[in-house]
Structures are given as C-alpha cells and as structure tokens.
Amino acid sequence: MPSVAGSAAGPVNGFFEWFGSLGIFSWQVLKAAVTPPYEWRELIRQLDEVGSKSLSLVVMAGAAIGVIISLEARYSLSRFGAKSMFPSTLVYSVIQVMGPIITGLVVSGRVGAGIGAELASMKVTEQIDAIEASAINPYRLLAATRILACILMLPLLTLATDACALVTGWFAQNLVEPLSFHQFISSGFNGATFNAFLPPTFKTAMYGLVIGLIACYEGMRTRGGAEGVGRAATNSVVLGSLFLILSDVVLVKFILVFFP
C-alpha cells in the first residue's frame, strides 16, 4: 500500500517541475525580447489581436458591472443613510477593484485561451519547429510579441471597462434619482488623487504579463495532438485566471504600501 508521503510526492514534484520549467521559459523569452532583431510587425499584429478584438467584450463586461454595482450600492447605501456617497462608491469600486479584475478575467478567457490554443496547434503540427528550423527564434517571434501585447493592452482595456461601467452605473442611478453626468463625475472624483486611480489601472500590465506568459508557456510545451491542444487552451484560462487573482493579492498590498 503506497504511503501518503509517496502518493503526495508525484503532485508536489509536478508542481515544482511546472514552476521550474516556467522559469526557464520566462528567461528564454526575456533574453529573446531584449536582443535584436525585433519583431515589430508581429507585435503590431498582436496589439490588434489582443486589444481591438477584446474591446467589445470588455465594454460589455464593464457595462454589466456598472449596472450591478449601481443596483447593489444604492440599496446598501440607502440602508445606512449614505446615498450621497453613491457616486464616489461607484467610482472607487470600479476603478480600484472591479474594473481591473473583471477586465483581467475576461481577457484571460478570450486572449489566454486563444493564445494557448493557437500556439498548441502550431506545436503539434510542427509549425514552431519549422520556425526554429528557419533560423527564427520562436521565443522572440511568438512568445515575446504576445506577452508584450498583453502587457500594453490590458491597462487600455481596463480604462475602457472603467469608462463603460461608470456610464452605465450613472445611467442606472439616473433612472431612479436623476443626477446630471457632470454632477456625478464631479462628486465621484471629488478629492481623488493619482494614487487612488492610476496604480490600480497600471497594475493590469502585470495581469497582462501573467495571462500572456502562462498562455504562451502552456501552448509552446503542448504534446499529444488534439487532446493536447484542448488541454493547453483550458490550462491557459484556468491557470491564467488563478494566478491573476493570486497576483492581485500581492499587487494590492504593493500599491497600498508604495502609493498610500
């Protein structure tokens, strides 16, 4: 009968092996990203893939969370006689917490799965080997461009999410208690500083790094045909989302310490 320690050794080894391989992969990508020749054309293509093709999705997600927060916050604030706090509650909730995390999770689902599946499909059909055999660094062409595109686009997509959430949140509130948009914005951003809004938005660049890195790693190490491609796509989303949320714990603390 296998011992508990013996049966736990496999998953534990697998866990450290995964992280070790990810570390080696990250180093290869970093080296490739900072040495010429740079793949500008591919980077621009990826900025379009990650950014403009995710825009409609994050806009819809932002619109939804604006309404949800508006409905929930208004009810809660009314109970405590703090309805006047509604604009700033919505603004701070969206920009500091919900906007970044929702954008990250939506993009992880769409972009992470897409990158994971695309690179996995290329791996099992030897297209990545063909790139390498053509004396082109696949880490530079495929991974670095995608990861950089995710890092650059996430903050911009977050701004789009935030803007839509604030507009629909105001609109939902306006249906119940009319309030001009100008008043809403002035009240919401009253007393706001750089530290309140910009660090939470730019932390999404770190989300982009997590999403892009894990998706590229899972895709480029795929084995096993169609099943492997499916597994890579799933792992890209699941692990990308998980590590995004875990990284947020660290990032929030970092922001609170360095941008109080």
């Binding site: 290869q28 490739a32 040495t35 020749p37 499909s121 290329m122 059909t125 030897e126 297209q127 080997d129 063909a130 790139i131 390498e132 055999a133 053509s134 004396a135 082109i136 660094n137 880490y139």
Partner: protein
C-alpha cells in the same frame, strides 16, 4: 559470429578529394525515456552528394535529421557542419548555421494562417531585409515555379493537397539558397505518380544547386532514384552504407530482408 551490429562506429574520413564533409555525424547517441533510438551513428555527406537514410519505422531516422538541424540535443557524439560542432550551441548562434540549411518536414509544416506565397516568403521576410517587397515577390514566384506551384500563390495550405503542400514546403526550404538540404520522408503518403514527381524535382534541384542532402525515407525506390549513397539503420545503428549495388550484394540478413520486402 560477428553480426552487422558488431561493426564498430564508422570513422569519419575526409572525402577522397581532400575536402572535409559538409555534414559529419560521429558516434551519435540519443535516448528518449528508456528507449535508445540512436546508438552510435556515424555518417557524413559532402557537397553535391545525396545520402538516403533508410530503415523501418521507429528506427530513429527522423530523429537523426532533427539532431542535425538542432531541434533535438544528442546525449553524446558530435555533429559537425562545415567542421563546426553544433552540439550545445545557443539558439541565436545555431540560427546562423540554420540559415545555410533547408528542412522539409514530413507533413510540410506549413504555417496555416499564411498563404502559400507568404509561407515561401517567410524566411526571406526575416533574413533578407535588404530585399525590397517586389524583389521578394519575384523570388517567391521563381521558387514556386521551380516546384511547379506558380499559380497557387494566394491559396491557403488547407486548400491544397498533401503533395502540393510538400512542394510548397520544399520551396520554402530553398528560399535562403541553402548549402545543406534535409528531407524527412518527402514522398510519404503520396501516390506513386506524385512520389515520382517529387523525386524528379529533388533530382533536378540537386543537379542545379549541388547541395549536400540527406533524405530520410522508407521508400527504397525513391532512395535509389535520388541518392548517391544509402545508409540502412536498424536498432539504432548503421547496418550498411554504400551504393544500392552494395546493398544488393550484401550477405547481411537484415539487408536482404529489407530489400526483399521493399
């Protein structure tokens, strides 16, 4: 009684005219998990020469090509390209050597999001930035014309047959005018007529370009047509190497069986 497998690893000798071989593999070993695929392979190919590597499925023929192009790392032994040992070279250093090599994958490995023309242009876009767009376009058309695919520039890989994909793969492999050509089962999965056409194409290109070529195949007829020398692998070792007539005259049981079944 000594068998073919007791023959010591072939010593790599310079060609008789004094020139070193372009590709020289010495005592190469490769194991995957506990399975030894190559167990002391030694081969060499000179300029303008075609070596066909034959053997049963799973004897490590494709692994040999992948080792030479650097997609796998040997456990021991050396691989020399123009005298330079490539084992352990960093990716970017290896890239300089790969620019002199062309590789045709068994299933062509075309980039499925690019057109036929874009596939062939791919190495040129990355390595010939001195070429203008129109020069590159002309070169792509010339390469596709050489392989009989002139009118298919704008088609996607999924729109063409397996044989046509191999032709496009060959055109892509020739884009940078390589000195060394590696072909992994160029006629696998093709009907006899298409196989013959691919063989004729390879012969014609070899006569024109005088590359050092290594062709991995299980097709003895194809190997006879295109190769100057043949090497037969079994159990990770070279059983016999020489011209087709040498194989026909061999007394080695495995060689006789292979020729009989082919």
């Amino acid at each position: 009684m000594a068998t073919a497998y007791d023959i010591p690893a072939k010593q790599v000798e310079p060609e008789q005219d004094g020139r070193a071989p372009v590709v020289a593999v010495e005592n190469l070993r490769k194991t995957f998990a506990s399975h030894t695929v190559l167990n002391g392979i030694s081969l060499s190919v000179g300029r303008g020469e075609t070596l066909a590597v034959l053997g049963r499925s799973g004897t490590g023929k494709s692994v040999l090509l992948r080792l030479i192009i650097g997609l796998e790392t040997p456990d021991s032994g050396s691989i020399r390209i123009h005298g330079q040992d490539i084992a352990g070279l960093a990716l970017d250093r290896m890239g300089e050597i790969r620019k002199k090599m062309g590789f045709l994958f068994q299933h062509a490995a075309l980039y499925d999001s690019l057109t036929v023309g874009e596939n062939v242009a791919f190495p040129l876009v990355h390595h010939r930035r001195d070429m203008s767009k129109s020069e590159r376009g002309d070169r792509v058309k010339q390469l596709l014309a050489e392989v009989g695919m002139k009118g298919d520039l704008d088609k996607m890989p999924s729109d063409i047959s397996g044989g046509m994909q191999k032709r496009v793969g060959l055109a892509r492999a020739l884009a940078l005018e390589p000195e060394i050509l590696l072909l992994d089962e160029p006629t696998a999965g093709l009907d006899p007529i298409s196989s013959g056409e691919i063989d004729d194409l390879i012969l014609m290109l070899q006569r024109e370009r005088q590359m050092a070529s290594i062709v991995v195949t299980h097709d003895l007829h194809s190997a006879r047509t295109i190769a100057d020398r043949l090497a037969l692998l079994d159990k990770g070792k070279v059983v016999i190497e020489g011209r087709f007539e040498d194989l026909q005259q061999s007394d080695i049981g495995f060689v006789k069986e292979f020729l009989k079944q082919s």
